[in-house]
Amino acid sequence: MRIIVVVGARPNFIKIGPLMPAFAAAGIEAPIAHTGQHYDASMSDVFFSDLDLPAPTWFLGVGSGTHAVQTGRAMIALEELLVAEHPDALFVVGDVNSTLAGALAASKIGVPVVHLEAGLRSGDMSMPEELNRLVTDQLSSLLLTPTPTAADNLAAEGIDADRVDFVGNIMAESVLRNSVGLEEREVAARLGLTPGEYVLATVHRPENTDIHENLAQIVSAFLGLELPVLFPVHPRTRPLLASAGLAEGDPRVRLVDPVGYLDMLALQREAAVVVTDSGGIQEETCMLHTPCVTVRRNTERQITLEIGSNRLVSANSGEIVAGVADALAAPRTWPLPERWDDAVASRVVAALQRGVTPLAR
């Protein structure tokens, strides 16, 4: 069997990390096509090396741009690739524009689509990721889901249960495989922070960074916390912080450049609390037993709310501060969700080996 694996952005790299060795061991040929949707040489390379990923066979150079520009360019490049290579299936992960582009291009030329992390729903169509998820799932022949609820979401959209396979959460397996030896990285210490005595923050969603009032509320919350905040910040967001009320060099909020995958895991594990708007970090904190506060109106990772590792707050200073206090007071022990374990990749392999057939006539 020969499949092409599409990745486009950092969360995708993480998801294929545990898969590549499993594919190789099972004799599944799985060359990687990197669309280059998120490409900044340093970060992409750090992730590939942190995750020990094979180099992409194809680099499609899609680059940045609006949603339509990214999706359109990735579709065109992937269509050419699929026509030339005609693999047995196209393997897409997550919910980025490259995921959508791959699913559209493949389905129109009759290449079956396999979607890993299928069936997640926030119910919020103002999130571009939600549209990417809805459309990709309709187009997929094999839907590999991370939670039992995901299958219910798919059934409610008319997707046959026989296309769905509950494999578990690949992000969880990646955390389990990479969390050995994290302490030795001493990342927090290198940044002058004491393990267990800082709040780690990541804020990147446009509704939080680009709406001035929301960013100001978030900054105000950070300044009001008792613990120092470590904030790896995207270069795009950095210049917005001053007008949101964060004075340069304020010791209460330490701004650093984005960090690699392993360093980020280490920082999450050693944080007292993580404040985020990222989907992946809601799951990683769950696995690392660090309480999480998610600054969003909704989440597609509802299971982390249900088990108590995560709580939702809106972009409001008081709510965020209260959320952090609640997280600090809460027990750090929760049961891990079903199939968030180290056998997810082998379940994916087993699902592929049962065969991938084009969508039924």
Binding site: A68, I76, G158
Partner: protein
């Protein structure tokens, strides 16, 4: 309310033409975004007069001047859809209308729907909910996906409404408005009462079968194309085929001979086609629009496909599905030519379709949460 209506394929012109006056009366301002080039719009003989009136002739149907010609051009699926997504995004971000209306199942309709939702605009889908159940056809993929992202679904049949409910679409977002193709027939057929299109071609009314083929599964598939030609060679009446989609090239490329019974003519515009349909003894097609039109002009129809999305045309007795097989098609044509034409028109295929659309839109468009 400001609405941008996407005209992404030739049949869309017919489907939206009955709507526009009604939407205007309802106080809904409409701008058209056409995916073709300015030059691709065939000007009518009375172009001067139309320009004075601010309109333009599309394939024989008069529409207001589009605000945008996207000139998406030709190429692979990804190339054309990708260009269309980018062009639509530019328009939607700049204009920020209250909603975007897309029609049917064209690639451009899906591209526009994706760009609209990504730009934060609700999508209204006209001719929603039709399904053939075959996800190998690009049209079915487009329909299913547009339904997933649309905020308002306007369906031509009751079955389409049920299909959407089965896929988990909230019932309050679905309106069974009827077929605008049917309303267009009722509107335009009156203007054609003195027009004998077949006479101009030397054919007598009820003295010919009208054929129309455009789907890739028939044209680009040699066994199917051979089966269809075998069937047409058995026709008891001459078969007239206006060729708008490259049938002649497909036949030549596959060394398939055109039967002596068949006469190919160039592409015809909507009015000519409608007049030819009205006067035919029977119609043989693979087009969805023609199945509806045949039903409305009361000419029996044979559809060369595995399935039809237009179930009411089958159940009322106007339309018959047949496989691309010479013997089966020959028999189906014999039966169609001699059958009665007394079927009852499908529910809500009437003159009030556009009124129902306007009323649905005036109830407000709630974006997907």
């Amino acid at each position: 309310m400001r609405l941008i209506v996407v005209v992404g394929a030739r049949p869309h012109v017919v489907k939206i033409s009955p709507l526009l006056p009604e939407l205007k009366r309802a106080g809904i301002s409409v701008q058209l975004a056409f995916t073709g080039s300015r030059e691709s719009v065939r000007r009518q003989e009375d172009a001067d007069e139309e320009q004075r009136a601010g309109g333009i002739g599309f394939y024989g149907v008069k529409l207001p001047q589009p605000s945008w010609f996207l000139d998406v051009g030709t190429g692979s699926y990804a190339a054309t859809a990708g260009r269309a997504m980018v062009a639509f995004e530019d328009i939607f971000v700049a204009e920020h209308p209250d909603a975007v209306m897309v029609v049917g199942d064209a690639n451009a309709s899906l591209a526009a729907a994706i760009s609209a939702v990504k730009s934060g605009l609700p999508v209204v889908h006209l001719e929603a909910g039709l399904r053939c159940g075959d996800m190998q056809t690009p049209e079915e993929i487009n329909r299913v996906l547009i339904s997933r992202v649309a905020a308002v679904h306007l369906t031509p049949t009751e079955g389409a409404l049920e299909n959407l409910e089965d896929e988990g679409i909230e019932p309050e977002r679905i309106y069974f408005v009827g077929s605008t193709v049917a309303q267009a027939v009722l509107t335009y057929i009156k203007e054609l009462s003195g027009f004998s299109a077949c006479g101009e071609l030397g054919l007598a009314p009820a003295g010919y079968v009208l054929g129309s083929f455009h789907r890739a599964e028939n044209l680009a598939h040699a066994p199917s194309l051979r089966g269809i030609m075998g069937g047409l060679s058995r026709s008891p009446l001459p078969v007239l085929i206006p060729d708008s989609d490259g049938l002649a090239e497909e036949l030549a490329g596959r060394d398939i001979t055109l039967p002596a019974t068949v006469r190919l003519i160039g592409a015809v515009d909507y009015r000519m086609m409608l007049a030819l349909e009205r006067d035919a003894a029977a119609i043989i097609t693979d087009s969805s629009g023609v199945q509806v039109e045949a039903c409305m002009v009361r000419v029996p129809c044979v559809t060369v496909r595995e399935c039809s999305e237009l179930i009411p045309t089958l159940t009322c007795g106007a339309n018959h599905l047949v496989a691309p097989d010479g013997v089966l098609i020959g028999a189906a044509l014999d039966a169609a030519i001699t059958q009665t034409r007394t079927w009852a028109e499908p529910k809500r295929w009437d003159r009030a379709v556009s009124d129902r659309v306007a009323r649905a839109l005036r109830r407000g468009i709630t974006p997907l949460s």
